[in-house]
């Protein structure tokens, strides 16, 4: 029994300081991202969420260049990016998509410049990789209070805007008719997302940032259509994938090629994808069964028309 446990939880896992910090900070960040992410997915702003992370990366490289704390670089640039997206964007999805793309393109270009200037100055190309991919095991415990305050801030904005956010996600026209300031709500939400994404980017890297923002939320929304329940599901999934990811990454130190350790980001994204596919499969089966039952009830036939609900769902998803 102990042998099995030792096989799963490699010795030293619970006493290692970096692992403990990674579990606490990674878990907190995943939790915040998952909650914020539910609205990102409902509002169809995954691209913006991902772009804010990449823009944060630009800020991170700027901070690296001037020798400042990367976190402030990430947050400043993500907030500027959020503002620019809102400024160029229009209410329609394609206009928003375009604005996000332009801001992201400019941001990436500037990141290229900063990284180039930074690396020619001190010849440390490794920084590029750390900034882009992040590493959960390089967190410092002294940053935890700052992270906590910012996480609470992001969650508070989302909690305050809960109803108007959902309403304007469903129908902007209805929301404006009811007196919701749609643009202000949109901008505030982008800002909350910018803070959440910067936090996750600086701790777990740009890849994982998008993964924990979108993955758990998208999976949760396949499981349930009720926003409150989806938030709970997303939080559970987000925490689960992050912690299991950390555990596997720690274990993988003894996997081939030996002595390297596989990146945490790989495990987390793989888990996220698996969870999403499973929940997608579950929701699909459920829908098919419900559809078949409805058919049978209406027509008095057996559930022979399995293909029908799929067509309806596909159209409804557009």
């Amino acid at each position: 029994m102990t042998a099995v446990l030792n096989g799963i939880f490699e010795p030293g896992l619970f006493t290692s300081e970096p692992v403990r910090v990674a579990v606490v900070v990674g878990g907190a960040v995943a939790l915040v991202s998952a909650v914020v992410g539910v609205f990102t997915v409902i509002r169809g702003q995954s691209f913006a969420g991902h772009s804010l992370g990449d823009l944060g990366t630009t800020g991170g490289s700027a901070a690296f260049l001037v020798g400042a704390n990367p976190l402030w670089g990430f947050i400043t640039f993500a907030i500027i990016g959020a503002g620019a997206m809102e400024l160029f964007g229009s209410r329609r999805p394609r206009g928003r998509d375009m604005a996000t793309g332009i801001v992201l393109g400019a941001g990436l270009g500037i990141a290229a410049l900063f990284l180039y200037l930074g690396t020619t100055q001190d010849n440390t190309t490794g920084a590029t990789i750390t900034i882009l991919f992040g590493s959960m095991f390089v967190l410092r415990a002294s940053m935890i209070p700052v992270f906590a305050v910012l996480s609470v801030l992001a969650l508070a904005i989302v909690a305050l805007l809960y109803r108007p956010l959902l309403l304007s996600a469903v129908s902007q026209d209805v929301a404006s008719a009811r007196g919701v300031p749609v643009r202000t709500v949109g901008l505030l939400y982008l800002l909350a997302m910018a803070v959440a994404v910067s936090l996750s980017c600086v701790t777990i890297g740009a890849i994982l940032s998008t993964a924990v923002l979108i993955g758990p939320a998208a999976a949760a929304l396949r499981l349930t259509k009720r926003p409150g329940l989806a938030i709970a599901w997303a939080a559970v999934i987000g925490l689960g994938v992050t912690w299991i990811g950390i555990l596997l990454a720690y274990d993988s130190y003894y996997w081939p090629p030996t002595g390297r350790g596989w990146p945490v980001s790989f495990f987390v994204v793989a888990l996220v994808l698996v969870v999403y596919l499973l929940s997608d499969f579950a929701s699909h089966r459920q829908a098919r069964r419900a559809g078949a039952q409805a058919m049978a009830a209406r027509k008095g036939l057996g559930g022979a028309a399995g293909g029908q609900p799929e067509g309806i769902r596909a159209r409804g998803a557009r």
Partner: protein, 291 residues
């Protein structure tokens, strides 16, 4: 500036700009900027994997780009398109991170894959780029009319028997092809900037599809040429100039629209500028309509 290695850079960049202008036109029309961002980055993971096992980078890139494009298309059928794109993107990047952690590649090689190395293009690469570029242009030419219809008015396209799903898949594969062609020479990030900046700007100036397409190619060429010249002079990365020029042009285009609109409003007093012959008018509004 135009001799030796630089000659290759100019040729390759010109080809990439033309393809980016054409493919980007449809990307912007369909609101698929995220896909245009995700597929090249997925290709980057493939390139990292290929270099790990010592295979051709181009093959790895192509295979991963096509796989990610197809899985986005396939999963997007049911879930939200953007969320699925994000998932495919992060999974591919995660794979890339895994491959990189295994390999002993220098970080600078990775930097080149992301940000491009247009100033160090070999003659072999020129041939490969040209071949793939021709294929993607041919694919777009074949799909042109149905793809245009399916992008602007999906309902009408469906009513006329154009399979919007098939067009979606076709478009995704074209993006994957264009990616494979361009990433080894210009990098994953620069390709994205090109595919969005120039076509996005072009849409501000004209409503006619062919006009916008031509303008998109022209702007894309302008951006690339200025960027290479500036990069040659300053030694700064090409990607910086492409990204920033794209944004500057886009803002200029939006300014032009706003100026025209206010002029038209003054002229006929009802605030609605007369729209052109139309087919694209509905779609155009999507990017320029103020709220």
């Amino acid at each position: 500036m135009f001799s030796g290695i630089m000659a290759n850079a100019w040729i390759v960049a010109t080809m990439v700009a033309v393809v980016a202008g054409v493919v980007g036109f449809f990307t912007v029309l369909r609101g698929s900027a995220f896909v245009a961002h995700a597929v090249p980055q997925a290709g980057f993971a493939g390139a990292a994997g290929a270099s790990l096992i010592g295979a051709s980078t181009l093959a790895g890139l192509g295979i991963f780009a096509v796989i990610s494009a197809l899985s986005i298309g396939f999963l997007g059928k049911r879930g939200r398109h953007d969320a699925v794109t994000a998932l495919a993107l992060v999974f591919m990047l995660g794979l890339g991170a895994l491959f990189l952690s295994w390999s002993d590649q220098y970080a600078s090689a990775i930097y080149a894959l992301l940000f491009g190395e247009v100033l160090g293009v070999s003659s072999n690469q020129v041939l490969a780029t040209a071949g793939l570029g021709v294929v993607s242009l041919l694919a777009v030419a074949t799909l042109y009319r149905p793809l245009l219809l399916a992008s602007v008015m999906p309902e009408v396209a469906q009513a006329r028997g154009v399979g919007t799903r098939r067009m979606e898949m076709g478009f995704l594969i074209v993006v994957a092809l264009a990616t494979t062609m361009s990433v080894p020479v210009v990098g994953a990030l620069l390709m994205f900037s090109l595919m969005i900046g120039a076509p996005g700007t072009a849409r501000s100036f004209t409503d006619r599809p062919l006009g916008a397409l031509g303008l998109s190619i022209g702007l894309s060429l302008t951006i690339v040429w200025i960027a290479i010249a500036a990069s040659y002079e300053t030694d700064w990365p090409v990607g910086f100039f492409v990204g920033v020029l794209g944004a500057v042009f886009f803002v200029a285009g939006r300014g032009w629209v706003a100026w025209q609109r206010s002029g038209a409003a003054r002229q006929d007093g009802d605030g609605h500028p007369a729209t052109g012959p139309v087919p694209l008018a509905t779609a155009k509004g999507t990017s320029v309509e103020p709220t």
